[in-house]
Amino acid sequence: MSLIPTKAKEYKSDIKPIWCPGCGHYSVLNAITKAMLALQLEKRNVAIISGIGCSSRLPAYTDMYGFHGVHGRALPVATGLAVARPDLTVIAVGGDGDGFSIGGNHFLHACRRNVNFVYIAMDNEVYGMTKGQASPTSPANWDHSKLAPHGTQIKPFQPAAIALAAGASYVARGYSGNPNGMARMIAEAIEFPGFAFIQALSQCITFCPEQTEWKEVVRPFKDVTTNDPVIAAQRIHGDDGFSTGVIYNNPRSVWPVVNAADTGITAEDAFKNLGQEFQV
């Protein structure tokens, strides 16, 4: 009997999402399951790791291995799992608050470390679970929260630009209004050797109803994917944040180095050494 589902929905669990109707996260979940099916992945070979927040509920809604962890700490857990079990497909998911605020430091180091897993940041520019406070990616003049009645007046975090500057070798931006396109992106990211970052624009219609207008402004990047970081940086900085597509794709050596011919150290040895260093 094949262990590979025949329908995308078979990658979902029986737990029904409690996201608001209209939330973009439904589409991201569908994009993930569609990508799984397209790649014919067995459920037992996939692990979804998350932190805390609306989007971080996602592992519970899948029928794959999952870990709903600590706020901002999805990436360290995913890193450890991907290093210990390189045979697994590891996907970290979470929101903009989780990933770029409390988890911001982990984001930088995941980008530069280049362990082989996918990180999907479901960016709705708001802390939804705690009832709508400004997040690192909220526009400076976003004034819906009583905590920031005149907006934060702070330039929003630029996830794609920071990922590129921190050394990520795969940087993409998708949109929940196009789950088929995002599914393709996720499938490509899973097959990419190394850390693959996807900023998923995912509207929060409850706290940011203006985001329903995103569908009017989101469009594909005009240019094809580049492997030149300078060109990629120019594209990101010359954009308003609503162009989608794979911006940068430039594989480099994955950590831990697995080619024993290069270093004499296998992944297994590297992991053993780490265990000795930390007396695990």
């Binding site: 929905k9 029904k16 999402p17 709508g132 929260s145 196009n178 088929n180 393709r184 509207q203 409850t206």
Partner: protein, 172 residues
């Protein structure tokens, strides 16, 4: 695959089957959203609409049963827009939406499906595809008519419909 849906019956039927299956999955998903958010009337409405989709999907699957349809990845289908026609605009949903709004949402899905089949019918390069696409478009037209009729019969919801005694926005 460019334009093969106009040329090859198997490719066209693969699109039709995917369209109907996506419709059922999408409407079922929307029904569950409403159930989770305690909008029981709309849960029942979307379940009912998904049920019609199941019937339609079955009919098309039976039609295609003798054929070995090609398997496409979700992004390889050639729809008029990015998504399958009967996957509605998620941003039009909200947990306190009225039956009128729900039917309008469903109506847009049917109109999109009809537009897809009409496009096939007008560009079909074989008579078999043209005839089938025309037939499917007529079926979608019938769905449109039924939904419009139902919308016309709907009573206005009470003024308390939109009142949420536990709203998501909390005072800070």
């Amino acid at each position: 695959m460019s334009n093969l849906r106009y040329q090859l019956i198997d490719v066209f039927l693969a699109h039709a089957v995917a369209l109907e299956r996506d419709a059922v999955e999408h409407l079922s998903e929307v029904a569950e959203m409403m159930a989770v958010h305690n909008n029981q009337p709309l849960y029942e409405l979307f379940r009912e609409l998904a049920g019609y989709g199941v019937k339609h999907a079955k009919e098309i699957e039976e039609l295609a049963a003798e054929k070995d349809l090609p398997a496409f990845k979700p992004w390889e289908y050639e729809w008029l827009e990015d998504e399958s026609p009967e996957v509605g605009d998620l941003t039009k949903l909200q947990y306190l939406m009225t039956p009128q709004q729900a039917l309008k949402f469903a109506l847009n899905c049917e109109l999109n499906a009809r537009a897809f089949y009409l496009d096939i019918a007008s560009h079909a390069e074989t008579e078999e595809i043209r005839m089938l696409a025309t037939e499917f478009a007529e079926e979608e037209s019938e769905h449109v008519r039924l939904l419009e009729e139902r919308m016309g019969k709907l009573k206005e919801v009470g003024k308390d419909w939109g009142i949420d005694i536990d709203p998501p926005h909390l005072p800070e």
